[in-house]
Structures are given as structure tokens and as C-alpha cells.
């Protein structure tokens, strides 16, 4: 064998490779670094305010101590209602995409539109619900907030339901058909059961997604300083209270905002990790 053709080219190729590999490592450190910094600061700023009072007292007027009870309750109620509205619609639509309309034109369009809705700006969803509910009713309400959140829940559930039903092997469907089971029974008793964990994951992801949403609630549910379980009136929610308190000049409010931020983040990340371990994939 002759010597290497040109040692200079050889060296420069390896130097370039080393630079690229170093940049690769640096980028990974950069990415992981941010999540570490953000979580660390959140814990550092939020943990001090964490006490039983946060969960048992109402949001305070400026300059006094209090908790976030009404905001947490409002968030929980609107999220539950949004999931109750959004899940059936999402599961049924996902079922159509996977079981009935796998190859038809309408399903292709619905799939495309659903993907757009999945990443559409949530502030636009807020405007939409403002137009169809708040403006005609003449006032902000918890119902409007829940509907806005439901609009965000639906595409998430549609997508995961379709994906999970697609994972159910066709042999199971054929076996069901061969013993004369009607299609609807096959889907409800066989396919849904096989895809149950996946569909639940989708719902958990949807809950995680909406529990941090602020923009669609700003002009639908608005906010409320007091304990309010009347869905037909403005309703407080944790993200909106954080938004209001963080931008206020009062130290107590800012502190509560950080605590609320910690609570939301732990909830949301906890839910998404739970969802992930449920399916075991990815």
C-alpha cells in the first residue's frame, strides 16, 4: 500500500470532524442545561411560598397573604369540563379516521385539518370562543373557558386515538369479524380495549396541555378574585392568576405567582411523564 494520498487533506477532514462532534456535544449540553436551569430556578423561587395555606386560602387582595385555592379549583373544574366535552368528540373522530375512513378523501382532509389545529396558536382559539360565546352571552364565563380548553383537547385526543387504534393488529379485527361480530361491537369491545392504555395516554397529554394554557382563558373565563363555583360567571384559573400576579408590583403576589408556577409545572411534567410510562414507547 502506498502512503496516504495527502496528509494535509486527511488532517483537515479529521479536524473538521472533531469540531462537528464537539459542537454536537455542546448543543446537547446546551439543551439539557436550559431545562435544568429553568427547573432549578422554579424550585428555588417557588418552594419558599409552598405551604398548606396555598391550597386552603383564597387569592389575597394586594399587600396581604393568601393562597391559590380558588384559582386551583377553577382550573380543575374547567379542565374537567373541557376533557368531558373534548374526549368523546376526539375519540369518535379518531375512530373514524382509523376504522372507517382509513383511505377516503374526507379522512385525509380531517387528518390534515386536525394536525393544523394541533399546533394552531392558542390565542386564536381564545378569540374564536370569545366570538361564539362571550360576545353573544354578553359576559365572560367559566363555560366559555371550558369550551376554549375543549377546542385544544380535541385535536390531541383525535391524534392519539387514531395512532393507537392503528397499532391494534388487523388479525384481531378479522377474528372478531369471523365470529360474526358487528363492526361497532368489534370496535367498542375489541379495538378500544386493546388500545385503552394509548387512548388514556392521549387524554393525559391533553390534560397536561390545557392545564398550562393561559392565552385562551384570558378573554373567555377572565379571572375572579373570589371563590366562585358559578360556571356562568367569570372564573379564576391558575395560569391567569399567575399572569396577573407576576406582572403586579406587589411582592406577595409575585411570590404566589412563583409558587403557582411551580405547582403547574410539577403537575404538567408529572402528567406527561406518567403518560409516557403508560405506553412504554418512545
Amino acid at each position: 500500500m502506498s502512503a496516504l494520498p495527502n496528509p494535509a487533506i486527511y488532517r483537515s477532514r479529521f479536524r473538521r470532524n472533531r469540531i462537528a462532534v464537539t459542537l454536537g456535544y455542546a448543543s446537547a449540553v446546551f439543551g439539557v442545561g436550559w431545562i435544568a436551569i429553568i427547573l432549578a430556578i422554579l424550585v428555588y423561587k417557588g418552594i419558599g411560598g409552598l405551604s398548606l395555606d396555598v391550597f386552603t386560602q383564597m387569592t389575597p387582595p394586594p399587600g396581604s397573604a393568601g393562597g391559590l385555592l380558588n384559582a386551583i379549583a377553577g382550573s380543575a373544574i374547567m379542565t374537567v369540563l373541557a376533557v368531558l366535552i373534548g374526549t368523546p368528540v376526539g375519540v369518535l373522530a379518531g375512530t373514524y379516521l382509523s376504522e372507517f375512513g382509513k383511505h377516503d378523501r374526507i379522512a385525509a382532509i380531517v387528518r390534515f385539518v386536525n394536525d393544523i389545529l394541533l399546533s394552531a396558536p392558542s390565542v386564536v382559539v381564545g378569540l374564536f370562543v370569545y366570538e361564539i360565546m362571550v360576545a353573544p352571552m354578553g359576559h365572560f364565563s367559566g363555560y366559555a373557558g371550558a369550551v376554549a380548553l375543549a377546542v385544544i383537547v380535541i385535536p390531541v385526543v383525535v391524534r392519539t386515538t387514531e395512532d393507537m387504534l392503528n397499532l391494534v393488529p388487523d388479525t384481531m379485527r378479522e377474528a372478531a369479524a369471523s365470529i360474526g361480530l358487528p363492526r361497532s361491537h368489534m370496535i367498542i369491545h375489541i379495538a378500544y380495549r386493546a388500545a385503552r392504555a394509548g387512548i388514556v395516554t392521549g387524554i393525559l397529554l391533553a390534560i397536561a396541555r390545557v392545564s398550562g394554557e393561559t392565552a385562551p382563558l384570558l378573554f373567555t373565563a377572565l379571572n375572579n378574585q373570589f371563590w366562585s363555583m358559578n360556571m356562568n360567571a367569570p372564573m379564576p384559573s391558575l395560569p391567569v392568576v399567575i399572569f396577573q400576579f407576576a406582572l403586579s408590583p406587589y411582592a406577595e403576589w409575585q411570590k404566589l405567582a412563583w409558587t403557582g408556577a411551580l405547582i403547574i409545572t410539577v403537575t404538567v411534567l408529572g402528567l406527561s411523564i406518567l403518560a409516557r410510562t403508560l405506553t412504554h414507547r418512545r
Binding site: G24, G31, W34, I41, V123, F128, F219
Partner: protein
């Protein structure tokens, strides 16, 4: 007919059973059709949702477009007192912040994906990939509060004065990085957006890089290529469409992001040559002003901003989905 059959008990029993079965089958057929109809209805409901969004935004923005005409899009004025509104400043802010975000997030996101697929030890791939995906899970309001209280003051004290001093005497850059250091502003918003879209670019790039057939990589390594050369001349060209699709998806995210930007952009309705100056974006204007907007024209102008944002993101997201779908088709 039934009368004559009724005279023969045995036959009558058989027909009754057959009739019962037919009725049962009919019921099943009906319930089957009903179930199918319900799923179809729900699927069409998704279409209706998009239609509803478009119709309501168009209807809501009609007064503004009637009052200002198409000039609404190109006017810079934003004056609630005289009720004169134009969308140019928010549009510029949205595009500027998204551009900054993409300039940073795209190369870093692709490099992280390169690391995850080619360099990272197998055991660390899942945890590191998951840590980066957690960035996507953090709600945007958290980025906002963190940006306002931690990141912006940090930039104001340690980074921006240094940038301003460095570029002071270089012609064009001295305008782009003109002081004073506010902390909040277009650049801060862009940087936070970069962190927020990073996981989207990374996740999709990683998935498409993983889809490259190992034989192709092995063949290139067999020729004596370095890791970087394999990546540069085999993996990247092979997956270009998918990467661009992922970038567009991230861009769609950046354009529409609301809360994080609202906290740190400064909400100033003017166009400044300096990216250190406060500005506004479409979504930040809506979030900040909508509930306080008095008068139909003011409200309608904000809805018109929403319509413009929706049209821009729709185009970007549609392009992204079409590109990714094309890739999917090519794989089969």
C-alpha cells in the same frame, strides 16, 4: 299470509324465530350505522371547528377592515385614543422574534439530533432525548415568568451592555444592537422562543435521522468517511425534506406563541431598528389589550390581528405537514 301460517303451530314458531333474528340483525345494522354516523359526525366536527374559527375571525375583523381597508396591514399607527389602528408593528415584531428564534434553534436543534442519533451512547439516548422533550412540556407562562424575572435582568446586566459596546462602531450592527439595555425587548423574546422551539426541531430531526437505512450509513463509513461526513453528505441530504418540515413546525409554534412573549416583549407599538428595543407581536398585542379594548373598532382591530396571525401560521403549518406527508409517502 300470517293468518294462514298461524294455523300451523310449528311453522309459525320457525318464522317467529326467523323474524326475531331478522329484527335483531336489523337492530345491529342500525346501531352499526348509528355508530359509524357518530364517528363520521365527530370527524366532520373537527372540520367544522376550523371552519368556525375562520368564519368567526373574518366576521369579527370585518369592521376593522371596512374602516381601514387593506392598508390596515401596512399601517404602523396604533392609537386607541384616536381609534387609528394598523398591523405593521405587530407583524414586524412577530416575524423578527420568530426569525431570531429560528436562527438559533435550527442549527442547535439539528446538532442535538446529530448528537442523539450518531454520537450519544445508547444508554443515554432516552434520558437525554426525554430531558429535551421536557422543554416542550413546560407551559409557556413558565417561560414568561422566568424570562421576566430571571433571564431579562441577566441579559440587561451581563450581556446587552457588552453587545452594545462591541458593535458600537460597526456601521449596520450599531443600529441593530443600539442601546440602551432594557433587558426586555425583541431579542429577549426571540431567545426565549428559541429555547421553546428547540425541542420541536430536535424531536423531528431525530426521528427523520433515525429513518435513514443503516446500510447507507455503513456503506459510507466503509468508504472511510468521518462521522461528520456521513452526517453531512448522506444523512442530511437524505432527510432534507423532513428536517425542513420540522423547522416549519417549530416556526409555526414560534409565530403563535403568546404568553412567554407577552411577558418580555415590552408591548411597544412601534418598529425599531434595534432588536434590543421593546416591541410587540401579534399575539402579545391581543393578550395584553383585548380585555381592555373599548369600542368596536379597537376590539375588531385586535381580532383582525388574530386573523392575520392565523393566516400566516396556517400557511406555515400546512407547508410543514405537506412536506412531512410527502416524506411519509416516499418511505412506503
Amino acid at each position: 299470509m300470517s293468518q294462514s301460517l298461524a294455523n300451523q303451530p310449528a311453522l309459525a314458531g320457525m318464522t317467529a324465530a326467523a323474524g326475531l333474528r331478522a329484527a335483531k340483525l336489523n337492530r345491529l345494522r342500525t346501531s352499526d350505522a348509528a355508530f359509524r354516523g357518530m364517528t363520521r359526525g365527530a370527524a366532520l366536527g373537527v372540520l367544522l371547528l376550523l371552519g368556525g374559527v375562520i368564519v368567526s375571525l373574518v366576521a369579527g375583523s370585518a369592521p376593522a377592515f371596512r374602516a381601514f381597508g387593506p392598508g390596515f396591514v401596512t399601517a404602523e399607527v396604533w392609537n386607541p385614543v384616536t381609534e387609528q389602528f394598523g398591523a405593521l408593528a405587530p407583524i414586524t415584531g412577530t416575524l423578527a422574534t420568530s426569525l431570531i428564534a429560528m436562527l438559533i434553534a435550527v442549527p442547535i436543534g439539528i446538532m442535538i439530533a446529530f448528537f442523539l442519533t450518531e454520537l450519544c451512547p445508547m444508554a443515554l439516548r432516552r434520558p437525554i432525548g426525554m430531558a429535551i422533550e421536557l422543554l416542550a412540556g413546560v407551559p409557556s407562562i413558565i417561560y414568561g415568568i422566568w424570562g421576566l424575572f430571571v433571564f431579562a435582568p441577566f441579559l440587561q446586566t451581563y450581556v446587552q451592555p457588552y453587545i452594545i459596546a462591541t458593535f458600537e462602531n460597526i456601521p449596520i450592527f450599531s443600529t441593530i444592537f443600539a442601546g440602551p439595555p432594557y433587558g426586555i425587548g425583541v431579542m429577549t423574546a426571540g431567545l426565549i422562543l428559541a429555547i421553546m422551539v428547540l425541542p420541536f426541531v430536535t424531536a423531528i430531526s431525530r426521528d427523520v435521522f433515525d429513518s435513514v437505512p443503516p446500510v447507507m450509513k455503513e456503506a459510507t463509513y466503509g468508504l472511510g468517511c468521518t462521522t461528520w461526513e456521513v452526517f453531512r453528505s448522506v444523512i442530511l441530504p437524505h432527510t432534507r425534506v423532513g428536517v425542513i418540515g420540522g423547522v416549519m413546525l417549530g416556526l409555526g409554534r414560534a409565530l403563535g406563541e403568546t404568553m412567554a412573549v407577552t411577558f418580555v416583549i415590552g408591548n411597544a407599538h412601534r418598529i425599531s431598528g434595534s432588536i434590543l428595543a421593546p416591541g410587540t407581536t401579534i399575539s402579545a398585542s391581543i393578550a395584553n389589550e383585548f380585555t381592555e379594548a373599548v369600542g368596536d373598532i379597537y376590539t375588531s382591530s385586535l381580532i383582525a390581528l388574530g386573523l392575520i396571525l392565523f393566516v400566516i401560521t396556517f400557511i406555515v403549518l400546512a407547508a410543514a405537514r405537506l412536506m412531512l406527508a410527502q416524506l411519509e409517502k416516499g418511505k412506503k
